[in-house]
Symmetry: C2
Subunit: 464 residues, 2 copies
Amino acid sequence: MRKLFLALLLISTQVFSQSEDEKQLKKIYTTSLTNGQSYEWLDHLSNQIGGRLSGSLNAERAVRYTKGQLDSLGLDRVWLQPVMVPKWVRGAPEFAYVETKPGVTTNVPICALGGSIATPDGGLKAEVIEVKGIEELEKLGREAIEGKIVFFNRPMQADLINTFEAYGGCVDQRYSGAREAGKYGAVGIIVRSMNLRLDDLPHTGAMSYGDLPVQHRVPAAAISTNGAELLSSLLTLNPDLQFYFRQTCKQFKDVQSYNVIGEIRGSEYPNEIMVVGGHLDSWDLGDGSHDDGAGCVQSMEVLRLLKETGYRPKRTIRVVLFMNEENGLRGGNEYAKVAKSKGENHVFALESDSGGFTPRGFSFDCSDENFAQVQKWKSLFEPYLIHYFKKGGSGADIGPLKNDGIVLAGLRPDSQRYFDYHHAENDTFDAINKRELELGAATMTALIYLFDKYGTIMPKKVKG
Amino acid sequence: MRKLFLALLLISTQVFSQSEDEKQLKKIYTTSLTNGQSYEWLDHLSNQIGGRLSGSLNAERAVRYTKGQLDSLGLDRVWLQPVMVPKWVRGAPEFAYVETKPGVTTNVPICALGGSIATPDGGLKAEVIEVKGIEELEKLGREAIEGKIVFFNRPMQADLINTFEAYGGCVDQRYSGAREAGKYGAVGIIVRSMNLRLDDLPHTGAMSYGDLPVQHRVPAAAISTNGAELLSSLLTLNPDLQFYFRQTCKQFKDVQSYNVIGEIRGSEYPNEIMVVGGHLDSWDLGDGSHDDGAGCVQSMEVLRLLKETGYRPKRTIRVVLFMNEENGLRGGNEYAKVAKSKGENHVFALESDSGGFTPRGFSFDCSDENFAQVQKWKSLFEPYLIHYFKKGGSGADIGPLKNDGIVLAGLRPDSQRYFDYHHAENDTFDAINKRELELGAATMTALIYLFDKYGTIMPKKVKG
């Protein structure tokens, strides 16, 4: 009889709890959609500050602005975490043309890749060799490449449903193209923009020379997808055409910057830390609304929504706006380093860095036990059309926190439009839909609420 | 032993079939995304033709263009189905201002509602009474309303996740506001635009005077959401302010138009007809790219994708581009009437009329047996992030086909941005994302393929 009673009690507690969770999620979504702050914050970040490249004045302004806003939320603690960041400056607008015959030229839109060196002052003109990927360089050999501009023109694969997968299949051209082509004596490289649309916007992004000796380093630029199509067609007609480009970008010494951090201290387990964040730096062409202003204001909104809905977290919830994701990951690395040196116990971290579009769910990098727990919450998310819960990947900035016990998660918004804007001058506030942004913030808050309430499952220690 | 063999055979057939379906869906999606036609068709419809209000020259052009395109697909039959449609013309651009003191005026953006009468030539100026819904009129009574402009200002409910639900909760103000206010002696009505954003665009849409005597019919216009907020604030400060508006719209006699129809004849059950469609007419402010150019080109693409992927349908697949959904539903009604008079057996109909955004799934209006069949196909759609399969609603144009046996379905794209564009001047081609449009076309094709292959489940006849 007693057993039955206990069983009934247990069932009724669970039912109550489920309905309590339903109510809390409803509160979170309603507050975000009817009384949200994220859109206004992003308006300021995008329209009053603008692009926030690491080491720039705007990045500094963004640090000050977001710190000020977190201060105003009545959190338990807000602070800046110092981190040295690279400072790369684009310089004068880049310029490029295709010369099919002496004096017959067509301008094409390009932009320097982040981290590239400049061309000579007067620009660089050379013949072009088109390839579809780095692996072609070896086959072509030095003879075919030396003295030429290598044109990397493998497009993003359109039939992949997840556009990040298509990006992953192409971005080696941008990141490593110059380093590899430099080894074969190329004088420069041009990369097709990582964009699934055909348009006139060049998309910048990080590249690296690795440990290539300085004398082998060549300037690298992205060309718009339309420009890439044109160049490729013209090359078919005239393989001997010349390509000219000029860019004046420059790498300066590292400068001081900051991760912006705020926290609500946990009421029961203050030493269990849950992080939610995005990256505060952006590229310089647009104003970084999707990448990653959206993720920053959504992360700030998580803490505001928890307070606004009257939820007192058991664990410490920390918002981290990471500096320098785009060209260095210094913020993410520094945060993890400090956490380790202080012996902090991070049990959960969530990043939003895939744009401010309609949220579809989350990807997880965690143990099977923790993932099984997430699966049980699926029905709670269903009314909000959140259905995607898959293992695989989280976010770049929180990656350095990885260990056996932590749950890492990434918000997964609809990805179809993301690369229309990614790292290009049209990544601006007008491409953000207020409701989509707010739904994302609410969805993140809901996940944090559930993980805070029910905790994460620690791995069993291996007997030794 | 024989039983075991049969069971194994059955299992292996099912496994084979599942994998055949997987392959066919993969083919459909890949073809749509890499070699699609829908975006190009929509480019023409939107940018070369433009807004296609029923009875307009553009609507005629759209009939001719789409018929021509269907002709070129090598279908078994393409034809025009005559239907008489209303012809309402907006006339000169509307004009409105708020006059807070004599001579102190602020312009506000308005547009006439479709079907409204004009104001007097010199415009109409009167005091304003603000209400949040039709039900307030009775409480206020004739005394408070007579001689005034009624301002319907109930906003769309922001905390509803499905924006169509929020629309459904407001649109009575637009459709019936003038009819109801006219009964209390109002001289005109102004309706807050059905838009979840705050912006400067008035959104038109259908209204009706019902059988209200002509002398009680008053002009009706929509005001932008920012305009509505402004007017409401000014009314708080000064309840006696005057509102002026002028519109010259006019209803003409019905004119001849057409549903555009094409079909692939079924190889096994040609008399079982499956319809896929959208509506070819649109409002006149934008070019009707989302509403419902997208649905038209997606429906055309369904037949093209079936052919392109080498699938020979067992049943007759018919694309119908309905005329006059927006202000009359004459096309939908006529199609159903003709189908009935010919004794045609429609087993399935799918409409796309919720914008060209990322598809999330379908809603169904069908028997439980048919819905249970759909549920079994869920896993086939999962790789394409299609997860929404719910009962409730399909599409306006296919509604008249409803009977006990038919499966009616509506494509359900992401709804967050839809009412930013709906019936407004920014419903234009640039608001369409090519991939999202193509994913919708593929998703529709996949559903049609499955229903064609496995058939619908007919209701058991009631013994009588």
